[in-house]
Amino acid sequence: MNVPSLHLWLIPILPFAGFLFNGILGSRIPKRLVTAVGVLAPLGSFLLVLNAAAASMISAPESCPSCGPAATAVALPHVETLAHAWINLGTLHVDFTLALDQLSLVMLLVVTGVGFLIHLYSVGYMGDEEGYARYFSYLNLFLFFMSVLVLAGNFLLMFVGWEGVGLASYLLIGFYFNKTSAAAAGKKAFIVNRIGDFGFLIGLFLLLAEFGTLTFRDIAWKLNTMASFSIFMHAGALPFNPGLGPIPSTGLLTVTALCLLLGAAGKSAQLPLYIWLPDAMEGPTPVSALIHAATMVTAGVYMIARMHTLFDHAPFALLVIAIMGAATAFFAATMGLVQTDIKRVLAYSTISQLGYMFLGCGVAAYSAAIFHLVTHAFFKALLFLGAGSVIHAMGGDQDLRNMGGLREKLPVTYWTMTIAVFTIAGFPPLAAFFSKDAILYAAYLHGPTGKLLWFVGLVTAFLTSLYMFRLWYMAFHGKPRKKLGHHHATPVSMLIPLVILAVLSFCGGWIGIGNVSSYLAPSVGAPRRMSAANAGPELLLTLAAVAVALLGWYIAYLYYSRRPEQPAQLAASMPAGYELLVNKYYVDEIYGAVIVKPLFAISKYGLGGVEFLLGGAAWLLGGMAGFAGMILQRWQSGNLRSYAAWLTAGAAAVLLFALVPWSAVWPASLHFISKVAGH
């Protein structure tokens, strides 16, 4: 069967070409050209992904007569490998492999689709900024690395994309590099990511040691085959060795999984390593929308779903993931309650929603987690872009306390943001209702710990609804708290993405978790439990979720619309709790004291020691050379006779060593001495 090539390699290369073009020539070409290249590159990638999706989903029986009526033009998984091997070193063999399966197709649709919309939005948002071309080149670079990450067929190529998106994130967070806070935020993001990457690398090495390969399919195959053979292999009943090598113990697999989890936690801002995400709001708002809401931070979830076979074999790691996710969701939601910067509220909301996705992975409901990833991309990007529109209209002011009454001034933004707020709160029939519900239901079914996690998730849903409606009321309703000066009309390029994302947030969930699970089943495994058997409890849980969402709305209405002075009174009555929340549980300060300061001290002393050693060594060498020179200098006296003497001595030495048969001297001298002594 002739497999048509989907030209997968073009999907990352188009944005890379855009990066090069705008990066090198950006400052010298007119802005229209920069815009054209910067926006058309992701559009091209998106169209290619659509083509791939169509080819794999639209029935085309004529392409493969023997495959039956359900055949499509291209069958997933579809792998394209570059002809020349990347690493070929003994037993290690790694290729540039791009693999498209259901999971990566879904991710790619999100990445390129939402990516393109945000590129479009940026045209209007960043239109007046200097560094316009640099912005688009960095954004294209990010898209390149993210596509590589998603399309990678082995861990090493994924790691390239992993590191690359970290780099692009650093560049874009510190986009306003003249601001010290932005530069520091970029550094912080990169360093915290690096800590996660350290775990990722250790995990890679462990995988390599255990399985000898880094390709996803091979590792999954080996794990599954080992599992089926394990009983026989332990009993020694197999007459042959299936050539799989020693089976790694569950303990080792758990350690590997935990190391990879550390990487995912760093990238996806989970509990110990989330500190970089709120600071990352220093970057331009579209950047926050793309990287820190829709795509990069979901890379961790993607990686866990991709390697689900490994995690399925390490139940302890799954438990850690679930607990980490639930805890993160809860803590981030509590911190989001008191933030005054509109983007910070959304940042903590992102961390919280990522916690939900991790919770979904932790209870082995990978399809639900991916479903939530997709809907989250829609509504979170919409929220950020809307916030950008608000900030744009406020002339750069991001403080919620200064906003109010924007409902009349920004109608499109208001209505799209409303849809997004209702979505994130989890109201049916909007998108997040379906995905969040799927995760919470899967958690509930996961045993006694599951029920506890479900409860935490429920409380977090309440808090989510509360702070999102708080934002809604403070920004759009009520009387304007600050006089809006010259009101910039929102450009069309900013409004179109808002509308499209609003539509997607509205209908994105209608596809239903059942269809999603069955579509993703070939890549992430069949869902653990079918929902048909437990219809009763499921309905109850759904009603509970909707109830808490309504409760959150009502309380937000009370506190921020009806009696706006109440929040301040509440804060005054619980000063310690309020302080704790506002200062983000002092986590940054704790890290600074416990980790950063000692590191600095060690580095300073280490540096001093190294300088001492190196300087000492250099001084010693120089001194020795000088000393030797001083001694040897006296040899060159200019005195002819001493030269003559040394010449003779040299000649004597040569003669001595050349003409005397040394091997015979010793016995001869002994003989001679004995003869003399004997006389």
């Binding site: 005195n639 006779r641 001493s642 003559a644 003497a645 040394w646 003779t648 001595a649 000649a651 004597a652 003669l655 001595l656 003409l659 005397v660």
Partner: protein, 180 residues
């Protein structure tokens, strides 16, 4: 006969050499060296190297030593002054010379039987004795056939040496102004 001649002229060699060391005026040293060279020429004759004996007299004793004598007289070199000795020369040089002499001497003494010199014989082997095989014929046959190139190169070398000597010793030589 051979022995007497050898002992006599070897004695002249050694006496001349020792005298070269003991004399203070360079002209006396030069004349002693002439004695050494002439005695060596006789020794070459004893070893059947007639051509070399002649060359030794003509070139060495007749040209080189004459040149030395000319220079001694030109520069009006007087008796040697008593100047500071060189510590290195005495402390390192003499033991080194002793070592050299000891090594060579022991080597030659213990060399075993390497043959004896007969008076009247030379390079030719017994079977090929004849008028056509004189020392000069043999020498020139090899010199002008096999080793023609080195021979010609040596002549060029001598030419260069002449040029160099003339250039260095010219009276008006730029670097040669005496330090006042």
């Amino acid at each position: 006969m051979h022995l007497i001649l050898f002992v006599l002229f070897a004695g002249f060699c050694l006496a001349g050499a020792v005298n070269l060391l003991l004399q203070t005026h360079p002209i006396n040293s030069a004349l002693s060296l002439i004695v050494v060279m002439t005695s060596l020429a006789v020794l070459y004759l004893l070893l059947g190297a007639e051509f070399l004996a002649a060359a030794q007299i003509i070139v060495y004793a007749g040209a080189v030593m004459v040149l030395f004598t000319f220079v001694v007289m030109l520069l009006n070199a007087g008796r040697e002054e008593r100047t500071l000795g060189s510590r290195a020369a005495s402390r390192i040089g003499f033991p080194a010379v002793a070592v050299v002499l000891a090594v060579l001497a022991s080597l030659f003494i213990h060399a075993g039987n390497i043959g004896t010199a007969h008076l009247g014989t030379g390079l030719e082997k017994a079977a090929t004795a004849g008028a056509d095989n004189s020392n000069l014929t043999l020498l020139s046959q090899v010199l002008f056939h096999e080793l023609l190139l080195p021979f010609e190169v040596t002549s060029i070398l001598i030419l260069i040496a002449i040029l160099g000597a003339v250039a260095l010793a010219r009276a008006g030589h730029g670097e040669g102004t005496a330090a006042k």
